[in-house]
């Protein structure tokens, strides 16, 4: 039980660090996915601990939303690449003072 939660925390931390330090948009998206799935893992673990199915339901919803999010996110990435010929987030900083 503890092990599963620890794994979840480690996965989430990797996702956070990845999203913060990597410049490649696709890697950032992957890191976000990693965080989502770390959360899913925690949900399942707690669901089993409490002995009810609420966590499972949440996980299914998260997966559904994540699928939609990825579709939109990748769409934005493709559009970005076509227009600016880059996938580096530091190059996309027009909206500033």
């Amino acid at each position: 039980m503890d092990l599963v939660v620890d794994l979840s925390v480690v996965l989430f931390a990797i996702g956070v660090v990845g999203a913060l330090v990597r410049r490649n948009v696709i890697v950032i998206l992957m890191s976000v996915e990693l965080m989502l799935n770390a959360v899913n893992l925690a949900f399942v673990a707690f669901s089993r601990m409490h002995g009810n199915n609420d966590g499972h339901v949440f996980v299914l919803i998260v997966i559904t939303v994540a699928a939609a999010e990825v579709a939109v996110g990748l769409g934005i990435v493709i559009s970005l690449f076509r227009n600016r010929d880059t996938v580096n987030v530091d190059d996309v900083s027009l909206l500033k003072w």
């Binding site: 956070v16 913060l20 410049r23 530091d90 900083s93 027009l94 909206l95 500033k96 003072w97």
Partner: protein, 675 residues
Amino acid sequence: MLNEGVHTSELLRLIPLFPLAAAVFHGVMIGLLRRPLPRAGVIAVSCGAVLLSFGVAILALGELLSYPVESRVLVDDLYTWVGAGRFVAEASLLFDPLSAVMSLVVTGVGALIHVYSIGYMDDDERDDKGFQRFFCYLNLFMFSMLMLVLGDNLLVLFLGWEGVGLCSYLLIGFWYGDEWNAYCGSKAFIVNRIGDFGFLVGIFVLFAALAQVGHPTVEFREIQTAIGLLADRTVAMPWGGEWKLLTLVGVCFFVGACGKSAQIPLYVWLPDAMAGPTPVSALIHAATMVTAGVYMVCRMSFLYAAAPGASAVVAWTGALTALVAATIAVAQTDIKKVLAYSTVSQLGYMFVAAGCGGYSAAIFHLGTHAFFKALLFLGSGAVILAMHHEQDTDKMGGLARYIPKTHRVFGVGVLAISGFPLLSGFFSKDEILLSAFAAEQIPGHLWLYGIGLGTAVLTAFYMFRVHFRTFYGECRAPAELRSHIHEPANTVMYPLYVLAALSVVAGLLSPPQLWGDLLGIARSNSLHHFLEPALSRGAVHTVEHSVEWLLVALAVSAFVVGAGLAWWMYVRSPEIPGRIRERAAGLYRAVANKYWVDELYDTVLVHPLVAVSDRVLYRGIDAAGIDGVVNGSAAAVRALAARGLKYAQTGLTQSYLFFMIVGALAMLGWMLRSS
């Protein structure tokens, strides 16, 4: 609601309804539909409405007279206007002898002046819309005035009171293209508001006191029955000392009357109100609205009878106003200004009577004054029309040759107001002087009588002065104008004939006892007797017949002296006024400049008030304070953003993400801090 000896009559609601309907109709036509009626239609609607009101008022009078004297009260309950707990104010109308006289004067003189306005405004107003607007205001005024005199409680009276003030403002500034007229309208309105404030305070104090003794009411007859409970109450005044409660209420009410009826110190608006069209001056500023204060004091006569202090204030203010206004009138050259000051002076007479307990004398003079002053104003309007809008008597003279009919009717008015024996003004003024002479409860009542007599001399003098300067001597008008002088139209002249006839005979409605015996008029037929149940008796002192004859002789000699002096100075040897002007230059200037009262008010009240409003209230509190807070907060946000906050917007996705995570961690830490 007291219902013993009270009859219900649904006729009453029709009296104010007709003018209201006409005013609303005119308002809709010019305001909403923007399609002014042809003049004939406007005339038919407006004059028809007022004539119908007059007819209904006569019917109501007939019904009133069919009842025995002690139950001559008609009431018409329309609906409950305010109902809050034990306080109930009905929208109801009252028709007792006092209201009857007032509403007959208002609708009767009003109808005549409506007819007169047809000719006067037709000559003046080129624009159909303006023509209809004029009659719209006039009808609205009739409605308000009728609500004032027919109201069954203080609230309905106050509704009419404010309504006539509004119409007065609208009609003084009727030709608002000239800024001076608009200024005069505002002046009248503001001065009236000062008086109204006193009136309102009086109503509040009276109501609060009545509520304390268990009679929360504003209805006249209920106040009258409960007034005895307040007789011994006193109030501590802010400057120390104690006043009788009823005296305080009476004085507050009289402040309102001072504003509406142009008494010292609030009379300054009335002479300037002459900026309005002449029919307005006649209807509102001579015959009806300005008498509202006198009516109110008489309506509350039971209160003033119980408050001798307030009565003394009323009488003395009236006497001083009568005298001061009469002296000012002596040196005015504008024909309407003379009449305006004369109105102020005559209203002062009425207050002398009301203050001395001669309420029916006040109402009698109110009625006769309405006739002869309306006649004089309308006559002056005819002169002004004939002279193509010249109002200055310096440019008139010798007009008797050009407009003989106008000359004759104006002369009747002059004789009536000056107190020519057996005309209306003679009787009513006589009765006022008699009540002042006999009023032993008023301190210095013989002085009041003396001032009244002196004012009578001045009245005869200035009225004959203006008459001689207008109609006699050499014509001082330019030659090309002289050839155009003509008698005005018939619609202008006919009302003058009717009013002239009334000015002659109206005195016989209520001659003093002395004359009644002599002329064979039974006392039970007199106006005085008719009014008796509606008015408080006051303190009545009778005077020996021989003394009364002496007073009559004095009054007649006052007329002879005043008129003779005017004849001597302006007809026989016209060089005398010029010499007096040189000899007593200072006095003449003071009188001709109205004792600089307007200038004094401007320096002491208006300018400081405007300065404080402008510098402190407007620029200090409004512009700097309130606007400062609103605009300052916006400016502060903008300055803060420009100096520092904008640098947080880096445009880098990951810096935003970083702050988001820091924030999330901070919230997490805060949530976990206790556990």
